[in-house]
Each structure stands twice: as structure tokens, then as C-alpha cells.
Subunit: 243 residues, 2 copies
């Protein structure tokens, strides 16, 4: 793990790093020196580790809860090179959707393909970050919606260190099988008029989680319209389960 | 409006009152002297104005938000006499359900009948309470689930002073038509395994609210199993919209 930069503002220390060839960002309280809860943030499709909603949530986790937060670029996103295979498949999928194909099974297949790489990558990141003195091996949560849900559900299912997860904007077709392996507390976010994930698919994914403690929040609007106050819900959820 | 008693504990003043023949309770911050937001609480079936969940929510609204809260007994509940008509209908309905009838249309018809009385009663209560110096004509919210939703939806639809409402454990069959008249912000609570309100009925009621700003929270469990943390969600919702 190689640190590229370290900056601080308003009580939040941001360290950019490379782990093997994975570019990431770690946020911690300024002056932090001991073990604390850690949130792994998975960004959305076409976004990156410092997309505005990721950054806002990361900073709030640090300032309001004292947590550490880590996010890395998904292959083909942010500071990572274009992946020729993914790029070709994504371009083909877009053409099919424009020609009238149902996007849900295409998204599901694509996310399953990418998850085969990101699940082991994110586990390696978790190993490395938890070895740092100012993070340590404390409780771990995961937050990710849209692509961050498609990649997050198999990650949470595979990784026993994750103790609570905020997921959403995903469907049962893509993630139902892995969701049935998840038993930790889940906050699941649905956009009621999601044009990419049919409502029934989203509700069926909520149904599929094996967690006894799970809560669904639904709000009107399309895939990209999730209200900012749901970031506050995520903070309270993590505080309840990890702090 | 005749006050029967006044007691204070832990910063909360509780006044029991009679308005005509309606017994009610008013909670305000100890020493309150000016206008503040007011929450009208509607209790559940078989409960009363001081049922434990009503009382807990009322006290939290006062201590955490500085609001006033009022609740009155629904006819046939709490300190009100048994209403022969309601009692007969409820007994007949129970026998029908035990004989295998679908409870949803029976509940819908019964709540519509009772609402014809409670809507004008609650509007009178609101008039009276807002004339008190320590309540005043500030913003008003409504909270009610189960029977408190069945009676609350027509109340919120009819009463322009209500600026935000927490409703839940109700279905579209009973309340859909009135819900379509509601445009204020709504937080709607669903129990995912509700044995009294079919899931599709609950989701359809959420769908029916005309409010641009509405949020659904769903949790696993039966009709009576709503988690206590949803009271915290209600407080934050009212703070966001009324404070």
C-alpha cells in the first residue's frame, strides 16, 4: 500500500493511495491514532472514489461519527485504465437497450462479471486498511447503491468482517442469490419510479436478504433522484450497528 | 375545554382534559409559554390516548423537539363509553374473520364509519388546543398507524392545517381515495409481513398519496412488530418539516 498524498480540511484527513494497481482514498478524523469503525464505500456506475455523493457521505461519516472510510475505483472507472472487455460489453449493452432490449438482465450479467474482480480486490483493500494504526480491526460497514449494490451484495455475502450494509437501487435478478446469503443488518434504498430497476425487482431484492434486521426506505423519483436525507439515514443506521 | 389534571415529570407537562365529551391529553415542555409546532397523535385499535407507544412518542416530541402533542380517545376506546353500534359491528366482524372472511374490506368499512365522527372531533380539538398560549397556531403534524392511519388519512385530507404526516399499517382499500387528496409530506410505515394489511395494499396506499415528498419505511415482522427506532424516524421527519 503506497500513499500518494495526504491533505486535511475541516477535521477530515484524506489519504490517496495505490494498492497494487488499485487507486483508493481513505478518510479519517484528523489526528486519529486508534481503532475505529470503518465504512467501505462502493461508487456507482460511471462514477469514481471521489464522486460528490461518495465524498459527502465519507466526510459526514468521519465528522459526525468518527469513523474511517475507504473507497477505491472500480475497474474501468476513475483513475483506472479503460478495461477493453468491460468497455466492449458496456457499449454492446447500451446499443441493445437503445434497440429496445430489457436493461435488467444485461445489467445483472455485467455486474456479476465485474464482481468476480472487485470482491477479491475489496477484500485485499480491507486487509490493508485494517492494518493501519488509525483504522485498525474494528467493526466494518458497507455502503453502495446502483453499481455499488450490484458489486456490494456479493462482497457483503463473501466477507464476514462486514457487520452492517446500506444497499439500494438494485434488483433481485442481479443480486437475489447472493442476498439470500446475507444475514447482517441491511438498510435498503429504493427509488419508487426507478427507470433502470423495475419496482418489483427492487422489492424482491429486499425480500431476498436473509437478515432478520432489515429496513427498506423508498422515495419517489427516478434512479438518480435519491434524496440527500437518505445519507443521514445511512449515518444513523451505521451508528446504531457499528458504534 | 376543561382541564382535569396537570402533572409534570422530566421536563414534560401532561394535562388531561375533556372537550365536550372527548377525553384527551396534552403534552408540552414544562414552563412553555409561546407558540410551537403541534403533533396530533391518533392511537391504534383497542388502545387509548396514553398507550405506551403513544406516550413514548409524545414525550420524545416534547423533550427532543420542544413540540406540543395532543391525543384523544377514539369513540369506544380509553375513557369513552362503549359505543353500542361500533361494538356490535366489531364483534360481528371478528366472528366473520374467524369464519374465514378477508379482514381487509371489513376493517376498511369500519374505519370509514368511525372516521365520520373522528374527523370533525379532531378538528374541534385542534381548534381548542391552538387557542392555548403554550401551543398557539404554529405548524401542525399528524402521526397515526393502524386505526390511527385509517382515521388519520381522512383527517389529514380534510384538515389544511396539517403540514406533514406519519402514517402506516394501512391499506389502499380503506384509505386510497382520501390519500389521493393529500399533498403534504408523508412518512409511511409498512410491516413487511403484516397479517392484517396485505403487503400489496400497503404499497398501493403509499403509491396513492399525491405528495411529491413521501418516504416509505418497511421493516420485517407482523402488524404489531414495528421497531421502536421508527419513532426516531418520525421525530426527524417532523423536525425536518415543521421546525
Amino acid at each position: 500500500m503506497r500513499f500518494l498524498s495526504e491533505t486535511s480540511s475541516d477535521g477530515v484527513c484524506e489519504q490517496l493511495f495505490l494498492l497494487d494497481d488499485i487507486p483508493g482514498a481513505l478518510w479519517t478524523p484528523e489526528g486519529a491514532a486508534c481503532t475505529r469503525p470503518l465504512i467501505v464505500l462502493g461508487h456507482g456506475g460511471g462514477q469514481h472514489k471521489k464522486a460528490p455523493d461518495v465524498l459527502d457521505l465519507a466526510r459526514r461519516c468521519v465528522t459526525e461519527c468518527g469513523f474511517a472510510v475507504v473507497a477505491v475505483d472500480v475497474p474501468g472507472h476513475g483513475d483506472r485504465p479503460v478495461d477493453e472487455d468491460y468497455h466492449r460489453i458496456a457499449t454492446e449493452n447500451q446499443a441493445r437497450v437503445e434497440a429496445g432490449a430489457d436493461p435488467a438482465p444485461l445489467i445483472a450479467a455485467f455486474q456479476a462479471l465485474v464482481a468476480r474482480r472487485t470482491v477479491p480486490e475489496w477484500r485485499t483493500v480491507l486487509d490493508a486498511v485494517q492494518r493501519l494504526d488509525h483504522v485498525g480491526a474494528g467493526p466494518v460497514g458497507y455502503w453502495g447503491v446502483s453499481l455499488g449494490c450490484g458489486l456490494g451484495v456479493p462482497f457483503v455475502a463473501a466477507e464476514p468482517r462486514i457487520g452492517a450494509a446500506v444497499l439500494g437501487l438494485g434488483g433481485a435478478l442481479a443480486s437475489g442469490a447472493h442476498a439470500a446469503l446475507i444475514t447482517v443488518p441491511v438498510l435498503f434504498l429504493v427509488q419508487w419510479d426507478d427507470e433502470r430497476v423495475p419496482r418489483g425487482q427492487g422489492l424482491a431484492l429486499f425480500d431476498a436478504f436473509a437478515s432478520a434486521d432489515k429496513t427498506l426506505h423508498a422515495n419517489p423519483g427516478k434512479h438518480g433522484d435519491m434524496p440527500a436525507f437518505e445519507r443521514g439515514s445511512a449515518l444513523r443506521f451505521f451508528s446504531r450497528h457499528l458504534a
